[in-house]
């Protein structure tokens, strides 16, 4: 008995290929919630992860928004950090050295204000050693389109991804904005544009007001909602997106436990990213990973891929057999 279980343990296969990035397990860090890795290394072994996705990087350093930048809401957090970051050069010179030997592939989340900026970033990163892939944050205001996000209209996203794909040698994961009418359309259009994978969801735009001061709680007025509050919305969107595209889907949004991660996987995600939960428990990544392993073992599932999107067929049967 003991032996059989031992064998099972070893046989659980957690690896996946995300559009060219081979990951040893499906647990990734979400951009902007794990710093550049160095902040987290006192708490968690950086080699734990399937991939580490770093804070969004722009060509030039960015100051970010004035405070208040964050506000807590029921089971959620609104942030308007304003994409503060050290910029590409400092990232490569100062931050990457620690990361590139950390034992987990590094995926760089990038953003720009114009398509050219994105392309230049992607191209430059292509020449840097130790980067496994790029995650395109398309929830950014497009200055050329009057501040409208790239990620709001399928055509805009298509154009951006297409251009970046031409400039980049690295695998591209497009990170979708949930602030759209139909996530399937968005996912399909970036797939068509050549994206190697999609990740979703980014934060949902939200607002909170201090009724004593009668002022928005965030300096920036509007920010992005993350955390467990948004999980049911994120799971639905992952379910929809996974049904619409053939490229790998990475699930993000309110993952706090391994159960939540499995939920996204069953909905169709090949991997997950943990965001806000890192703020509450910096060792959460390891806990989620261990939990996934235990779940698979105790349910005698040998490959993670056996349960990715596994409810899809089932549902039609379920509904056919009932008469509402």
């Amino acid at each position: 008995m003991g032996k059989t279980i031992e064998t099972d343990v070893k046989m659980v296969d957690l690896s996946t290929n995300i559009g060219g990035v081979v990951i040893k397990n499906p647990v990734m860090t979400a951009s902007g919630t794990f710093g550049y890795g160095e902040e987290m290394s006192p708490y968690i072994d950086l080699s734990t992860f399937g991939a580490i996705i770093v804070k969004g990087i722009s060509l030039k350093p960015r100051k970010g928004n004035p405070a208040p930048r964050i506000v807590e809401t029921p089971s959620g957090l609104i942030n308007a950090i304003g994409l503060q970051n050290v910029g590409l050069d400092a990232f490569v010179d100062e931050k990457l050295p620690l990361l590139k030997d950390c034992g987990s592939p590094v995926i760089v989340n990038i953003f720009g204000e114009t398509i050219d900026e994105y392309c230049l970033l992607a191209e430059k990163l292509g020449h840097v050693d130790g980067i496994a892939g790029i995650e395109l944050n398309i929830s950014c205001p497009n200055v050329k389109k009057g501040g409208m996000e790239f990620g709001r209209q399928p055509e805009d996203a298509y154009r951006l991804v297409r251009a970046v794909k031409h400039s980049a040698k690295l695998p591209i994961i497009t990170k979708l904005s949930p602030n759209v009418g139909d996530i399937r359309e968005m996912a399909s259009s970036v797939e068509e544009a050549g994206s190697d994978a999609v990740s979703l969801i980014n934060t949902i735009t939200a607002m909170s007001i201090d009724i004593e001061k009668r002022r928005p709680r965030l300096f920036n007025v509007i920010g992005g909602l993350s955390g467990p509050a948004i999980r049911p919305i994120a799971v639905r969107m992952v379910w929809e997106a996974a049904g619409a595209v053939d490229i790998p889907v990475i699930g993000i949004g309110g993952i706090m436990t391994y159960e939540d991660a499995i939920e996204f996987i069953i909905a169709g995600a090949c991997a997950v990213q943990i965001g806000t939960a890192n703020f509450i428990d910096p060792t959460i990544g390891l806990k989620v990973l261990k939990g996934i392993k235990t779940y698979l073992k105790s349910h005698s599932i040998q490959r993670l891929s056996d349960i990715i999107g596994c409810i899809r067929g089932q549902i039609y049967t379920l509904h056919k057999n009932s008469n509402l």
Binding site: T33, G35, P42, Y43, P66, N79, M256, F279, I280
Partner: protein
Amino acid sequence: MKQVIGKVLYNSEISQSYFKMGIACSDVASSILPGQFFMLRAWSDTEYDPLLNRPFGVYRVIGEEEGVEILYRVVGRGTRIMSQLRHRDFVGLIGPLGKGFPIYEYGDSVAMISGGVGIAPFYFFTQWIRNKKSYNLPITLYHGGSGMDDMVCIEDFEALGVEIKSSTEDGSVGFKGYVTDNLRKDLEKKNIMPSFMLACGPKAMLKEVALMALKDDIPCFVSIDSVMGCGIGTCLGCVVKTRKKDKSKADTEFEYTRVCMEGPVFDVKDILWEKL
């Protein structure tokens, strides 16, 4: 810094809405420096409302480094939940975090200025300075609040030979008015001119103290309160405006600096007070 589970030893209301909580946490108690803080979770980590951990300084280390005592004030949901904890309940702790008060020769005399629960970090600091110094450095505590209820822990400081200058907005105890007015009065009379000032309290108070210190050229450090998402440097939610380190740009340009990592204690010279 570590992530540990602490066990509540006691938790009692010492004044209207002020509590002292003792927490057993021997793994971390010995390494704390005055002015550092912990992220604390007084509720289960599977309940997400409230969602975030809360930052708290250390009032003192207790029981031969077996634990910490926190002085806190109930101001919202998280602190209300804290106030309901009882002996043997558990809390989550991450810390000690941040940079504490600078480890200096504090010169001839120190003035500590606190508003309300801002008094919290100064007891541990005073203990530490009393231990380091063989001579009896004069320390004055300017402590202010809105009324009598805010005059907490005074005896503790007196026992360490700290001179107390109380002030209340309603005049019920000590000087009537703001703690900064009480301080200004003394500084202007020049009968007191501390070689160092330390302050902790609301931002508006810190700013006034800072401006006085800068004017009189007294070295001054303040512990800045900020809403914290993580406390460990990753969310970038806790920032304050500081001068660019590059000297040539220090007067005109600023950057956003994390209170949790680069603070919570800052040299008043580094903060852009006009833009706070």
